[in-house]
Structure formats: C-alpha cells, structure tokens
C-alpha cells in the first residue's frame, strides 16, 4: 500500500518537475517483467536477423566455397557484380520490371475488387471467398497449375485465345513472354490486397459521403475527394508491403521457368540461391543478398518519405 502511494506521488512529481523520477519498486518489477516478456523476440531478432545481416556483410568480403576456409578479398565481390557480371544486371533488370508492372497493376485490380465488394451485392461473401482463395493456395501448387494453364498447345489460356481466332504466345517457353506470364499469374493472387482495401473502405465514415453528396459531389468526385484520401494510408501500407514481397519472388521462377528461357526470368533471389546453394559461392551470393537488402531498404524508405506528399492522415492539424 505504502509503495503504491509512493509511486503515485512520484508520478505526480515527475510530471510537475519534468524530469525522470527514479523507478519505484513496482515500476522496476514491471519493467523486468516487460524485458522478460519481449526477450524471446529480442533474442530471435539478434540471432536470426541482426547477426546474420552483419554476418552476410562479412561473408560478402570473402571468397568462400563452404568446404574450405573463407578467404578475405575486400570489395572484389562487389566490384565483380557491378562491373563484371552481366547476369547480375540481368537479374536486377528482370526483378525491377516485375516489380514495376506487378505492384501498380495488382494494386489497381485489388482496389477495383474491393470497391466492387463494398457495393450491395447479392452473394457478396461468396464472391469475396472466390477472389481471396487463390491467395492462400501453396505457391508451389499454384505454379504447377499455371505451367499447365500456360501450355501453348493444350493449356486453357491459349485455348480461350484461340476462340478469337488468334494463336496465343508461347508464354513461359518464350524469352519474350515468360516475364509477362509470371506477372499475369501474380494477378490471380490479389486477394490479400483486396481484403486490406476492403477493410480500409469500410473504415471510412459514412457521414463524409453524405456531406459530399449534400455539397453536390457526384460518384466520381466522391471517389477522388473522399475515398482516395481516406484510403491513402492503407494504399501506402499495401504498396510498400507489395514492393517488398515482389522483390523476393523466387518460387514461381524456380519451378516454372528455372530462370529461363535465356535468363528472361532470372530474378535476383533465384540468382542468389544459385550462387549460394548450387555453385557454393557463399561470398558472392552474400554480396548479392546485400544488394537486395539495400535496394529494398532504399525503395521502401523512399516510398515512406514520399507519403508526406500524398497520404492523408486524419486528425492531423494544418499539414504538421
């Protein structure tokens, strides 16, 4: 009892004096419990994230073929990838093209689906289920399905195209169409984005639409002036996570195209995987992995920075 009163007194002092009070016994106990509670994560963060990231940086400065000891070679790995490795630049090119097309198209598609699902629609739950289901299927199984869908002769896609009297492309068997094919396939899995946007749409207060309607705004104006600004924090979150996820594309390319044809789908993570676990160039692969890390970090930070100009935060006073 006494210590509780003491704590209350200290809290009040702390506020008035504006300096940090010494911790009372109870507060100290709570803090210790807090550190114990978060210790699994803190340990996991240090062992499985922080140490490996630093470790990867060290390994990237070595030539290490796993069976022999690592040999320090300074920045030669980075020198090689920047100036002497066409495959690295190919993997960057392919990955960036994938991200540039996949992220905006899937954002627009999932927003369109979310707007659709936000209407009064008979069987809305069933539609939502159908749109979302592809996003939960194992990617390996999805890849198997789509190899067969993309089969140039007997696949369902070219069969449907043939109805219009056109012969479809060779899809994943063509160096020109393999990358677009994987982008198309990724659009089948936009369900997650749809649900995120749908939750965002349902969080927009109805009175804003009513006020806009009273002011004479039509559907399109309400979309531009109410829906989009109110949804912009969710859009930012979805875009950032989608960019990060898209940079990590691996499974589809590994299974469906093996990076081909002619390295047309040699994504960065696939190239890292090959260097590390097929050719056992641990040093070079770590240098590539660090490039991935830095590229993703810079792009996500740039996106978060840019958000000041286009994301609307409710409750913010006067552009603070």
């Amino acid at each position: 009892m006494l210590s509780r009163q003491a704590q209350a007194g200290q809290d009040a002092d702390g506020v008035t004096a504006g300096k940090r009070p010494r911790m009372s016994g109870i507060a100290r106990k709570e803090a210790i419990a807090g550190y114990i509670a978060i210790s699994p994560w803190l340990l996991g963060f240090m062992i499985f994230q922080l140490a490996p990231i630093l470790g990867a940086f060290y390994i990237s400065s070595t030539e290490w073929r796993i069976l022999s000891a690592p040999e320090f070679i300074g920045v030669r790995n980075f020198d090689k990838l920047l100036f002497n490795d066409d495959l690295f630049w190919q993997s960057i090119k392919v990955t960036v093209i994938y991200v540039i097309f996949r992220v905006p198209i899937s954002a627009m598609l999932s927003l369109a689906l979310a707007l659709l699902m936000n209407q009064q629609l008979a069987g809305r739950r069933l539609f939502r289920t159908i749109y979302y289901l592809p996003a939960v299927i194992p990617l390996v199984a999805v890849s198997m399905m789509w190899i067969w869908i993309f089969n140039p002769e007997y696949g369902v896609l070219n069969s449907l195209i043939r109805v219009f009297g056109i012969e479809g492309p060779q899809w994943i068997h063509s160096s020109r169409w393999a990358l677009p094919a994987l982008i198309i396939m990724s659009l089948w899995q936009v369900g997650t984005g749809m649900v995120i946007f749908l939750a965002g749409l349902q969080g927009i207060p109805a009175h804003l639409y009513e006020a806009a309607t009273i002011d004479g705004a039509n559907t399109w104006q309400r979309f531009l002036k109410v829906t989009l600004p109110m949804l912009s924090p969710v859009v930012l979150f979805a875009l950032v996570m989608n960019v990060i996820g898209s940079f990590q594309i691996f499974t589809q390319a590994y299974i469906m195209t093996a990076g081909g044809p002619g390295n047309a789908t040699l994504f960065l993570v696939l190239y890292i995987y090959r260097n590390a676990f097929e050719w056992f160039h641990m040093g070079y692969a770590s240098a590539l992995a660090w490039v991935l890390f830095v590229v993703v970090l810079v792009i996500s930070l740039a996106m978060l920075r840019s958000s000041e100009h286009w994301v609307h935060y409710e409750g913010r006073v006067g552009g603070a």
Binding site: Y35, L43, N118, P138, L139, W148, M282
Partner: protein
C-alpha cells in the same frame, strides 16, 4: 439527388440497409453484379482447369478443344498420384513441422505482444519501432549466414531450422496483430487482477489469453498457412527425400513425372486441400487478421 433521397427513404422504410453511397439504379446494379460474376468466373477457371485435368485419362488431356467435363472420370488418378510418391510421409512431415511452428509462433508472439501492449519498461517504443522495421526486411539476406550457422550446429537435414526460430519471437506480423488485440481489452481487467495479487504473467495466462482467443486463432491460421506453404527455406535445409515437406514433395514429383498432367494436377490439388479446408472453416479470421494488420498498419 431528390430521387436518390426518395429511394433511400423508401429503402429504409422496407428495413433494408441503406447504402453508404447513394442508392444505385437498376442498370448500375445489374452492371455491378455482372462485373462481379465475370471476375468470379475468371478467378475460378484455374481451379476448374486443375480439377478437370486431374480426373482425365492421359489421352484426353492433349486434346483441342479442351474438354471441361472429364469423361470418363478417373478417380484413380488421385490414388496413383498419391502412391507413386510417398505423399503420406510428406504429409506427416509437413504436419509435424507446421504444428510445432504454429505452437511456437503463438506462444512467443503472445508473450512478446503482451510485453509491448501492457508492460512499461525503458526503451519500449524504440524496440517496438525496430520490430516494425523488421517487417520490411527481405529475409533472404539472412539465409546464407543462417545456413552456415545451422551447418556448424549439424542442423542441416533436420527440422530444427524450420521450427526453432518460431519459438523466438515468431513473426513481427503476429506480434503486431496480437499487440493491437491486447490494446482493445480494457485495462481495468489487469488493474483488478493486480489488486488481487496477480503477477504480470498470471494476468496474461489467466485473464488476457482467454479473451484473446479470436486474435490467437487468427495467428494460428496464418501461421499454419505460411508454414505449410513455405518452399525456399525447406529447399535449402532439407536434403533427404524422407524429410521433405509437401511443397518439396510436389516439386520432386514434377521433376520425375513432368508431363503426367493429370497426376501432377491431382497431387497439386491434394497439397492445397488442407489450406482450402482451413480457409473455408475460418474465413472470418483470415479477413479479420488482414484487416487488423493491414488497415491499422
């Protein structure tokens, strides 16, 4: 405007929910249904194509125009696909890895989330920001050092690399999700228990966790899904065919029987079935989980 208002009043008088936009007229309503239906057909075609192919005899697969309804229906494709490779074994392996991973992720993310939501300690905010920042980390940057670490521990070709990390923090997404969930529970619960002499971990175990079951269910489902579907990391750490999980088994099946499309589609469907079943059983939690981490993120 006037007609819109009239319609809304009319609608309200029938006790129907009023639309948050304006009442749509019949033609736009029909258009919306048509769009939704066309989209649903497009989204379903790959599934139907997979199931249809999985039931066809070989000679009917390479046929143009394709036949949607298999004739005859060959159920034995499934039996053949599941016996030619040891899918029962892969299934058991996947269940083993997934169940232990789910347990680890639930336990550790619940405790950690409780710490961030309810207990005050110096550095809490900065540590929470670090946790959020790790969501943006492409984990592949850690895979080579971790592979080397596990190799030196002799853990390659065991399930430890797939399971143990899940007991240490699990995933920042789950911690974030559960923290948000704990924040919605009234603080008076903790206060009352504290007065009764409950320590912080008894409060978590006896009072908050029972109330957080919806949140924990969401975590369990996503954890199941992610661990069940994981491909790259098992591909790196599991070499022996006997140790393979379902996705690795499916990949190996394709390496051997590449163009047996009916068997490959049957195996793919079976590999997807557990997540499809879980999805239909717990759909609500999927939607809620994404809504919490997505919309409030």
């Amino acid at each position: 405007m006037a007609t819109g208002h009239a319609q809304r009043t009319l609608r309200n008088s029938f006790g129907l929910p009023s639309n948050r936009y304006q009442m749509l007229n019949w033609s736009s309503k029909a258009l919306i249904h048509l769009l939704a239906l066309a989209g649903a057909v497009a989204f379903l075609i790959p599934f139907l194509w997979m199931i249809s192919t999985s039931l066809k005899p070989m000679e009917k697969i390479f046929q143009y125009p394709p036949q949607w309804m298999p004739d005859p229906i060959l159920w034995r494709n499934y039996i053949e696909a599941l016996t030619v490779m040891p899918f029962g074994l892969y299934f058991r392996n996947s269940i083993y890895v997934t169940v232990l991973s789910v347990v680890g992720q639930i336990l550790s993310s619940a405790v950690v989330a409780y710490g961030f939501a309810r207990l005050r300690f110096p550095g809490r905010n900065i540590l929470f920001i670090i946790l959020l920042a790790t969501m943006m980390l492409p984990w592949q940057v850690t895979m080579i050092p971790l592979f080397i670490l596990y190799r030196s521990l002799d853990w390659i070709n065991t399930y430890y690399p797939l399971i143990v990390p899940n007991f240490l923090g699990g995933s920042p997404f789950f911690i974030f999700l559960l923290r948000q969930f704990f924040l919605t529970l009234p603080l008076e619960l903790d206060e009352a228990a504290k007065l009764d002499g409950c320590g912080p971990f008894r409060i978590l175990w006896q009072i908050l966790l029972p109330l957080a079951i919806p949140g924990l269910t969401t975590v369990a489902i996503f954890s199941f899904l992610w661990n069940w579907n994981e491909f790259l990391w098992p591909l790196i750490v599991l070499n022996d065919v006997d140790k393979w999980t379902i996705p690795l088994g499916l990949n190996g099946f394709r390496d051997q029987y590449g163009t047996d499309w009916n068997h490959l589609m049957a195996a793919s469907f079976v590999a997807s079935l557990p997540v499809i079943i879980i999805f239909f059983m717990f759909q609500r939690y999927f939607i809620q989980g994404i809504a919490t981490t997505g919309a409030k993120g």
